[in-house]
Subunit: 169 residues, 4 copies
């Protein structure tokens, strides 16, 4: 199945989407986040088809997020608050051309106003109701990998993605 609509960007929240939503505190403050398998590999298959852009509202954990998303995975990451996120997406990419993946209590509004919304299994109830697609896996446990597969199937299904599937994906 290939949709007629072609998205220009895949914008992803980080905490609860790329991570399991947990953040570890020591007496010195926020110190660790928990990432999971396959998400990086699956995003690599989308990379030449659609622009991938991460956003986070977490200022205190920004260094941790940056290390993983920017330094180790090589993607764009911006600090964008929940309130300003929909406007930011619209200004940057035009909301109707964007696939957005988010899990939080303020994400339902964004998910309803972008071209295509995806929520992980662990997302807030309202976010899941607002999303076009809810993954069976949770954030930090292949939710993004599953979203990537779904996006390939829905919007980029052609010979190219087929060959990837034939090679073991």
């Amino acid at each position: 199945m290939k949709s007629d609509w072609t998205p220009t960007a895949f914008v992803l929240d980080v905490d609860g989407v790329m991570t399991n939503g947990q953040f570890f505190y020591s007496a010195e403050g926020k110190i660790f986040k928990v990432f999971g398998p396959d998400d990086n590999d699956a995003l690599a298959m989308l990379r030449n088809k659609i622009r991938i852009h991460f956003v986070t509202a977490d200022k205190r954990g920004f260094d941790i997020t940056c290390k993983r998303i920017v330094d180790d995975m090589g993607y764009e990451l911006d600090l964008v608050s929940s309130e300003n996120r929909l406007v930011w997406i619209d200004n940057k990419y035009s909301a109707s051309e964007v696939i957005y993946m988010g899990d939080g209590i303020f994400d339902d509004c964004i998910l309803r106003n972008v071209g295509y919304g995806i929520a992980p299994a662990n997302a807030d109830k309202r976010a899941k109701q607002a999303a076009n697609f809810v993954t069976t896996r949770s954030g930090g446990d292949r939710a993004v990998a599953e979203a990537c597969t779904h996006i390939l199937d829905m919007f980029f299904y052609d010979g190219a993605s087929c060959r990837i599937i034939d090679k073991g994906y």
Copy 2:
């Protein structure tokens, strides 16, 4: 639905409510706790409607708890043992005017004797039986966010909270 009763304070236990109940040990002792998404944002929506006060019985992890609850989130936190907690709540706020959220094996008694009791999904069986409301989410996985939404709906449903809902909450 808006109840006739108006609570004056929302008193919350920390471990198992704001955290998933886990505490990490190294050979040097208790070192990390695990917090989760949306709780801080949801509490911010209640902040101007009801006094929010955290209590913990964990002496060894107090520095970690303090860093998160007091330094980073800006709420009151007191070290109050399980046995003294109901009396402490009653002296400080009058138990019948308080919403209390707790998860432990000594919390059932408190939950039964406050104005309104809330337990997270991961709570001890007796605590859940004693609570007026049990969240579908667990501590450190949006249980407090869900409790805040429930409190807004039950006790503060008016134009103000409506506008918050319209803005994406």
Copy 3:
């Protein structure tokens, strides 16, 4: 319900029983273990009724286990391999007078040969089959607290434990 049999000791494995079974590795080796809520409080209620003794086969994580069980909780802890454990229990306390709680693939044999065997929900299949009682909660998530309540109800139900229940337990 009070059984006719009175146990003299409660012997507990640590990993997977007091912890969730996970152990964290850094590049320097085994570094953290994950403990949970209520177990320490519930053991305190048993303390004056039965001797409590912990055993572990984990040499590399012994310092971490020791810090929690011995230094912070104040219980006896011995390093006893899986193979030697049943004999060790029998020599120390007489197996038929002991309640043993364990979760591992070698624990079924021990659970079958002590006076009363308890396994947490997360235990190996065979350990659960061999146990007299399987908790509904998992190790590091109140399994030991549930076991303590069960032991009080089964073997020590009298005015004393009743008063504890009246005080909120």
Copy 4:
């Protein structure tokens, strides 16, 4: 039940198989992995019956993996990318004589082309479909221990493994 086929090697992926798939990030980068109970003990029972060899594609976490698998458990570990893994296995052991255990989005191809494929409960959907056996337990929560028991039952059931069972296994 003993199969006619006798495998010569048991090749295991590490992340998501020996670990729960999570990797922890601090602001300095990938820092911890999460291992679990019984896997080491169960592998020890297979050790004299079949060659055990670990592979990983994780370069950034290689030091952590190496510490656990090579230094502390004493097994062979090689850094082999997902794409090259099937060829690597075939060159090293001949794919048709190998039991492979993997969980990732590229493992289905490998699982289908080895002698016998095993996936843990937490594996990617396609990996589970491609496997001959899917464990009921997840990676880092006894999946490998369960796989070892299964391998003993399927391919090495004789007096020797019987005696191990009689001794408490």
